[in-house]
């Protein structure tokens, strides 16, 4: 129940940001001088990179306060407010509020991490941080974890803090190549992948035999026992791969073709449902034999039904990843950067990975994992071999107009 105190902390911080934002220079200078958050001392490093016209308030203290003396070092803050998805970090078996990797961070830097599993949906969470970001205020979060397309949107809106990579050597050195320079962030200065995952075929091998092609998702043999995903990019992405198109280069016409292709399956009664994570339960119960699936789900459900398989089809699979992001105006930017750097140590990443079972974006984590759990380290779904990685495609970033048009067409398809 640490959550009970954190909103109060956040409120206090937000008010401070608000005062700075209103241009009360004297007050902000005073607060900056006695503040422990480190915003004042960090501000100079971020100021030059702040895009013109967005959230000018973060520059106010920088331009108005005197230059910090050369000896002044940023210090880690007392707290770090970290928003993440449920079941997405190493967790103590007996105490769900204990996370060894976070405790190690506290031990090293003295920062208490307010870790909150508040994100259940990208759009929903975006709704909660949108108002303060739009107003140029602190969201109360120092790190938020969001999927790449949402990260792309935040970059597009100029609502993220740029990393100071000089304090993040591990991130620079250990980011897996597959995640370097995506279209929305070519310099990797706004996002740090937390976990990746693949969208491919999940099936019950006993009932379907081994599958290698996406086309199986259109097979009448299993009509009514196949599910697709409600996540637009995943469903459309796999369909594009079936049609021989590259999701990274999708055009309007290709998108429309993909929708039409899925409509065939819906009209023929092949698609039982469009689902979120619930397809995994249905695979276990046997109601569904083949699904568009996320790799991590299948690994976890194999414990309940050993015949479940996940395959990266010959046509390819989708790679998606959730990212650590620092929202604009975050009170503890420096500490957030320290944390990201901390996570990008192979030993820490492996510690998280051993519990989470998605794809680790940190180089060297596999070697560390060998020490923890050999099976996991050799699991191709957690550390995909090079030939698999080569077949993973990323859905390209969309403009706002494209996003709304694509979402609309997809909504029509799934009947809502």
């Amino acid at each position: 129940m640490t959550d009970q105190t954190s909103p109060i902390d956040r409120l206090a911080v937000s008010r401070r940001r608000f005062l700075q934002g209103t241009g009360l220079v004297g007050v902000s200078a005073f607060l900056a001088a006695c503040g422990t958050s480190g915003t004042a001392t960090q501000a100079p490093t971020t100021a030059p990179a702040t895009p013109a016209g967005t959230a000018p308030e973060s520059m106010a203290p920088a331009s108005m306060t005197p230059e910090p003396s050369p000896t002044a070092q940023p210090t880690p803050s007392d707290v770090l407010n970290f928003a993440n998805w449920p079941l997405y970090i190493d967790t103590d078996d007996n105490d769900p509020t204990k996370h060894a990797s976070l405790e190690a961070f506290t031990a090293q830097y003295g920062t208490k991490v307010n870790y909150s599993e508040v994100i259940n949906d990208n759009e929903e969470f975006f709704g909660t941080i949108k108002a303060p970001l739009q107003a140029g205020q602190d969201t109360g979060w120092d790190i938020v974890t969001l999927t790449q397309w949402m990260a792309a949107r935040l970059v597009r809106l100029g609502w993220l803090e740029e990393f100071d990579k000089s304090v993040m050597p591990n991130y620079v050195a250990n980011l897996e190549d597959a995640y370097v320079a995506p279209d929305f962030d070519p310099d990797n200065k706004y996002h740090a992948p937390w976990q990746g995952g693949m969208t491919g075929l999940g099936y019950d091998r006993k009932k379907t035999g081994d599958l290698t092609s996406v086309a199986a998702l259109w097979d009448k043999k299993w009509a009514g026992q196949i599910t697709y995903l409600t996540e637009m990019r995943d469903s459309v992405g796999l369909t594009l791969l079936k049609l021989g198109d590259d999701p990274a280069q999708v055009t309007d016409a290709q998108f429309a073709d993909a929708i039409a292709e899925m409509k065939k399956a819906v009209d023929a009664g092949i698609v039982r449902q469009f689902t979120g994570n619930s397809y995994a339960e249905d695979l276990v119960s046997g109601d569904v034999v083949l699904a568009m699936a996320w790799s991590g789900d299948i690994i976890q459900k194999q414990l309940e039904r050993a015949s479940l398989r996940f395959t990266v089809p010959d046509e390819g699979a989708l790679l998606w990843y959730d990212n650590l992001l620092i929202p604009k105006g975050a009170a503890h930017k420096y500490t957030a950067e320290l944390y990201i750097n901390f996570y990008y140590q192979p030993s820490i990443a492996a510690e998280v990975e051993a519990w989470v079972n998605y794809i680790c974006p940190v180089k060297g984590a596999k070697d560390e994992m060998l020490k923890i759990d050999k099976d996991l380290a050799n699991n191709p779904l957690i550390f995909p071999p090079a030939d698999v990685t080569a077949r993973l495609k990323k859905f390209r970033s969309l403009s706002e107009a494209e996003e709304s048009s694509y979402n609309d067409q997809f909504s029509n398809l799934i009947g809502v």
Binding site: G127, R153, V266, Q273, E281, S285, D287, S411, V416
Partner: protein, 338 residues
């Protein structure tokens, strides 16, 4: 003091009403107004929304695009109301008239499952109705059903889910209205030659049974002829054997307020429900609640979502008003016939 009390006596009713009125303002009137305003917005979440009355076209566009889901909501909620009524009336009647000292226990048994979460109860139906689950599995093993037969991801599953989830809302009001009927009235009617109702009951049973079965067949997407025939036969049997003049003239009219309240309590939330359709349905069983949810949360299309919500609310208000006229809200309070 006395003077003060006298002077402000007139304020007492308002003071007593104040909490309720405040509640309505904060949790009903204000949000409703917000939704009304949002329905006249245009723009996107990223660029911001602007209000303009010329955006009334959102309503016609939404109606045009989602009339299928809207009509389906009415059909499913109506079917669920019929089913809950068919289940709840005999149940409430039996408990009230024949429950004896087990009355409270029986009532508790109806309500007990509803101490658990709505979501959990709906998910449990996925387990019960699973294609090879505890219900269909054995039937398939014995060859009574085809291997491809399934209930989940069909309209039947959605309507059954709604029926189950809202059953107590029908049962309890009907129970209350039957329970308070003075049994001496029934006896008096019997003394006055209120015997079996024939052939009226036979004909009424035939028509009502066939009619209701027809509606359900349409909603389920099942074979109409067979279903209507089965409903008509069942209705005829019930009408001929079980419906007496004393029931028709005494018990039924006096229990109508319960039926009225119960059907509203089922129909209204069922119209807006989206949980059953999204867990138990397929892409073509989505109801208007699913659309509103997806417009709000996935597509960030607040204007359309608001317009749909507002239309749903208006539709329900009009329907309730008409329904109240027909069945008569005065029945709820009147003691006519007592």
């Amino acid at each position: 003091m006395g003077v003060l009390i006298k002077r402000y006596r007139g304020a007492v009713p308002y003071l007593l009403l104040a909490p309720g009125i405040l509640w309505l303002i904060v949790f009903y009137a204000y949000p409703a107004l917000q939704i009304l305003i949002a329905s006249f917005w245009s723009g996107t979440l990223e660029t911001g929304f602007t209000f303009s009355l010329s955006n009334w076209t959102t309503y016609t566009d939404a109606l045009d695009r989602y009339q299928g889901q809207l009509l389906r909501s009415i059909l499913y909620a109506g079917s669920a109301s019929i089913l809950t009524f068919l289940i709840a009336y005999p149940l409430a009647y039996t408990i009230a008239f024949r429950g004896g000292r087990y009355k409270n226990l029986l009532l508790f048994m109806i309500v007990a499952p509803f101490f658990t979460s709505f979501l959990l109860r709906t998910i449990s139906w996925k387990i019960i109705l699973g294609d090879t689950g505890i219900l269909l599995g054995p039937l398939k093993d014995f060859g009574l059903l085809g291997e491809d037969f399934r209930v989940l991801a069909t309209p039947v599953a959605v309507i059954s889910g709604i029926t189950y989830n809202f059953l107590p809302f029908m049962t309890l009001p009907i129970y209350v209205s039957i329970e308070k009927i003075d049994r001496r009235l029934v006896e008096a009617a019997q003394d006055l030659y209120a015997g079996p109702w024939r052939p009226g009951g036979t004909i009424a049973g035939l028509l009502i049974g066939g009619g209701l079965a027809g509606v359900l067949a349409y909603a389920f997407g099942w074979d109409h002829i067979g279903m209507i025939a089965a409903g008509a036969i069942a209705g005829t049997v019930i009408g001929t054997l079980f419906v007496s003049q004393s029931f028709l003239r005494v018990t039924l009219p006096l229990s109508l307020p319960g039926v009225f309240a119960g059907s509203l309590l089922v129909m209204i939330p069922a119209m807006g429900d989206y949980v059953n359709a999204s867990l138990l349905g397929n892409p073509s069983t989505n109801m208007i609640g699913n659309v509103i949810q997806s417009r709000f949360l996935t597509n960030n299309d607040y204007p359309t979502a608001s317009a749909l919500s507002f239309m749903l609310m208006a539709m329900i208000l009009v329907a309730v008003a008409i329904y109240g006229r027909i069945l008569g809200t005065e029945n709820l309070t009147s003691t006519r016939g007592l």
